[in-house]
Symmetry: D2
């Protein structure tokens, strides 16, 4: 047994502790890693608040190390097919496969039987600790130094990569493109203005969509600046629904998890329109869906699709996209990280900073 | 101008008349057809009742000839690429293309801008008349004599063909198959027990699904016999929800258009599950959809897809499937046509016969 | 150890023996089957002739039981998810999975690393024996009695099902359909007039293709009658190349394995044309392929695809297709089986009957 | 009529002239553009040499303006859906649609009937002139200033984008990925070391492939440096075939058009391997393809696919990729442009500079 500095919770009861946590030393291991950054997201806060009933501690443990978004440096690693060497920076994969047909082909994000685990969430210790052990196939290499300050976004971005993979497939059910085979005059509307909403917007914009972010309130200047930077638009839907819906919506992306909002916008989808449901908010109140809503979905050949998680290739592609954006947008990409804190600042789990896009724990400040 | 025996309505106001209807004689035409059978479906009844607000008369007309399900015989036809000759039996296509990118490639079922027309429904005279004129690309040849008594089902079946085409595409978003690459132990649940529900069930069964039909009441013996014939099962969901949902649902097909029922069953979908929304009932009351429903759709990678209409290839494939079923199930396939009536029996539009699967107008009885 | 009547060879050396063969009795087994029919194909004859260098005996054996095409009856079987019960007729699957990513998902036909086995061909005893043991996931149920006389064709047909699955996928690289979204005026040319060529032709015709079979000699009346039955055409390409190539070829299917013939026809492919390479003839002489051939393939966006074997779902679908054809074409489908012989008639492996489509061993004549 | 400085040829006879060329002034036009750069490729040289028999002058002309690779600046433009304004830099699209089903949906790269035109190649004046007129849907906007020096590569890169789109589709015929759902230990081999070969290599590397470029001779330091920059490898296949083929090839990309080389490498493809045929060399000598080659393609489920041209979306994506590479690789991306010349330096069409990757005409030097 060894002691490691770690941030732990008791799932699904909640609570959060920073301190020495005792973990067994593996007899054999294929990779040892030092944690560099940990990102904090709504799931972490939900677990600390005790509101995520699906979370559970690893077998035999009364605490679970938190943390699923991260960047780590390789201390030791065995020879591997992924070109990862000691000293490299890597992003660890969150979800670990079970034995179903999807997991067996590396697509644990599409796990059929639910017997997968997620680091820091369901039955497996997370990455909010000084160091950890892992295997090469669960580590994705960061290509160059310029990205270390944004690579922690690879984990949230991998969800977007997977969602767009599903969009690519589903949109083949008809010709979704315009008359010239592009998305250039198609409209994507992203509900929400958090980190996932922005990553979805970056993506939609790269595809060529006229991209609109929306929320039920105005956004601070930092976020407005980021909207401008990528050439998107923002509207407060309580004020400007008409502008958002003008010409109809072709691709709707929800990061709010709020049924009332989702269906308000779904009723603006064009023929062959697609809605990606991504944001979850289990406690959101019900909205009424009636016969005419179902009619609308049918008569217009509309698809609503839920998408969760992402697999190794999505992390890989996320890092490629971050690489591009890091260079194209320059230091402004760093504005995504709105705050860096020390591991001991566990207040962060109960007090979300105003205007947060992404708060990151810097493990060098331990 | 010529007079033709026809069944007309005034869309969207409603009403129904049988009698001589005056239509201009075309100067040139590429095909002249004699109507053999016309099928009657809920859309026809909805138009007669005046409850389908989207229906409208052809430009310049105060009446519209009803009828979109049909079988006709070719009286005259120009040389064509589809091998259709005088004397052949054909099924006419309902929806006619506009100018959008989907219509331009023969996929008016996926019309982007809504500028298509539908025979007997939206701005175009239907097939409930003694004879009509058309063009070869809108006629699909019936392959053999044995099918004349069921070919009228090609029109409703083409919707099922298209819906399964969409299912095939969408299900590629993950491995939907079992461990052995088949659907054999996957469960399909079809909500409804009308003609479309049965056609969906025939299809699901051919795919290999364990297939369950369900409704909120028991079904008559004729229908029960048909369920047995294809090796499916039926359960009244007000009594046996547990049996229906045992092991979860992989493919849900709704023909009811009832949101409360749809979401009741959607909550039983397995991971990667797909729901095909097909049945419309614009006046169905609302059901509450809350945050946990959205959560469920996301965490399980679920897809809900609306599917309407079908294109030429779906008619073509529908006839191939009917051909198979006509032979495999023998004369029992004829039980699908629960009643044949004369064109003058227009009561049928306001009084649905008990235990109807499909009522057909026989134009030889004019 | 038990003795079973079997037809064996010594792979890859060759030879053929009918007689008692000694095999160990399994301690536990999940299914015991009685062989009803065995089909004979070119691979069997190639093994007997000693010309298939890739064939090998099962580990520890100096002989291998031949036979990969078959129909069997279940004597005993454990409870299973495929609805197979004692007394049922089944088709056993030929190829058995290794551990690669394709095999792990039931797609051993796409085996990545080559570590699969094939009954009666590579390292696994085949089905030309009185009885054998197997597991339910390797057995595919025959749906009804009417098919027992043609079900032995499921094995060769499953190859066609898989090849068309690949065609379906590959043809999505562009719009392969005509202006109306069908294959109705597209031309498929099938090189060869053996059993696989006919099964491909049945399939192409069902898709709607104008279908032409061709060979370098005329065909006997029985085969000509079958061509007419399905509405296809036959031309001797040494005489009527112009008629075959008129309007160009959209889908080329080769069952000859002869490079000179393949490229002769490939040069007639239309834009976006696809060639399915299926027939193998390892000893066929070379043909010259030059820069202009490569140019042609590129400028016309042509795809040449090899396709081998098929998986469980292809057997399943093959049986569905045979069921249809058995009924639609009636007893004429039985003409596919040109000869039934006794297991002791091992001459059949060295003397191919004139005008053979498919010769079948009837194990009731043992 | 107006005179414009232009580089012309007489297709298909050949020859090249720089000087004033008389063209009619359009009565109405939607965009007027000033040429900034023109790229020179093998097709231009082939036309000048008179070796491309498929090239032809615009109707009514005895000369054709050369040039299909280009960057232009918008002088005037009507309001459009693509966000293009006066002053913007754009890449003009080469191929212009005919009326076939693929052209009608903006996919003239997949033209079914061959009735398309290509600027500077088949029946349409090219972009090697001081200014030209065009329409917005044929112009693709360059996103930022940093790219002006490499945007001329968008035209050759769009071919690579399209080829990989086809690869993405075709590779779905089986699981092409490794056990973890990525390409990371899959091998791509690119035959050739010209500009297209490099663009393919950049792309393969971004996908995660172990990427090898090869040729029949060593390459100069500049090219070797570029290979190293992207983390690929180069081997002279006359010396190191073993190293290239070690572990087999998963994706083969040919830019040579040389059949002997193509089949030499095709015989090293792994199961489910894919060969993209891209390079054309109509005069390349024949190679012998025999029965065992066809066998190999079949038994291994191999696909050989020709791919030509690309559509609007491929230009769009090409610019996105160039944007990324321009920033990630910095000024080294400029090394792709090995020479900039004046329009009057028409020697370039008959004398290819040693070590050329891409030579570009700078129209400011007119």
């Amino acid at each position: 047994m060894s002691k490691v500095k770690a941030i732990t919770t008791d799932a699904p009861t909640g609570g959060v502790v920073f301190g020495d946590f005792e973990l067994p030393d593996p007899e054999h291991y294929s990779a040892k890693l030092k944690t560099i950054y940990s990102g904090i997201c709504g799931t972490d806060r939900g677990m600390v608040a005790g509101s995520l009933s699906f979370a559970y501690n690893p077998e035999g443990y009364r605490q679970m190390v938190l943390g699923h978004e991260g960047l780590a440096q390789v201390l030791e690693i065995e020879k591997n097919n992924f070109g990862i060497k000691p000293g490299d920076y890597v992003v660890p994969i969150v979800r670990r496969p079970g034995k179903c047909v999807n997991c067996r082909m590396g697509r644990m994000d599409n796990c059929t039987d639910g017997n997968k685990h997620e680091a820091g969430v369901t039955g497996m210790h997370g990455f909010m600790r000084g160091y950890f052990y892992d295997t090469p196939e669960n580590l994705v290499k960061v290509q160059d130094k310029g990205m270390f300050d944004v690579a922690v976004l690879a984990e949230p971005l991998k969800n977007v990569e997977k969602a767009f993979e599903v969009f690519d497939k589903v949109s083949e059910r008809s010709i979704f493109f315009n008359d010239y085979g592009t998305y250039e005059d198609k409209k994507a509307v992203v509900i929400g203005t958090g980190s996932e909403a922005f990553l979805f917007s970056f993506f939609a914009k790269d595809y060529g969509f006229d991209t609109v972010l929306t929320n039920r309130h105005p956004i601070p200047d930092l976020k407005k600046g980021m909207v401008d930077m990528i050439g998107a638009e923002f509207y407060d839907y309580t004020m400007d629904m008409d502008k958002i819906a003008e010409g109809g919506i072709d691709l709707l992306i929800d990061t709010s998890g709020h049924p009332g909002t989702i269906f308000k916008f779904a009723r603006k989808l064009n023929n062959n329109g697609i809605a990606i449901l991504f944001g979850t908010n289990g406690k959101a109140p019900p909205t009424g869906v009636d016969g005419s809503d179902i009619d609308y979905i049918i008569e217009k050949n509309i698809t609503l699709l839920g998408s969760v998680d992402g697999a190794r290739n999505h992390y890989f592609m996320a890092l490629e996209h971050l690489r591009k954006w890091r260079y194209v947008y320059g230091d402004r990409m760093k504005e995504f990280i709105t705050k860096k804190i020390s591991p001991s600042d566990i207040d962060i789990f109960t007090n979300k900073p105003e205007n947060e896009i992404k708060t990151v724990i810097d493990w060098s400040r331990v």
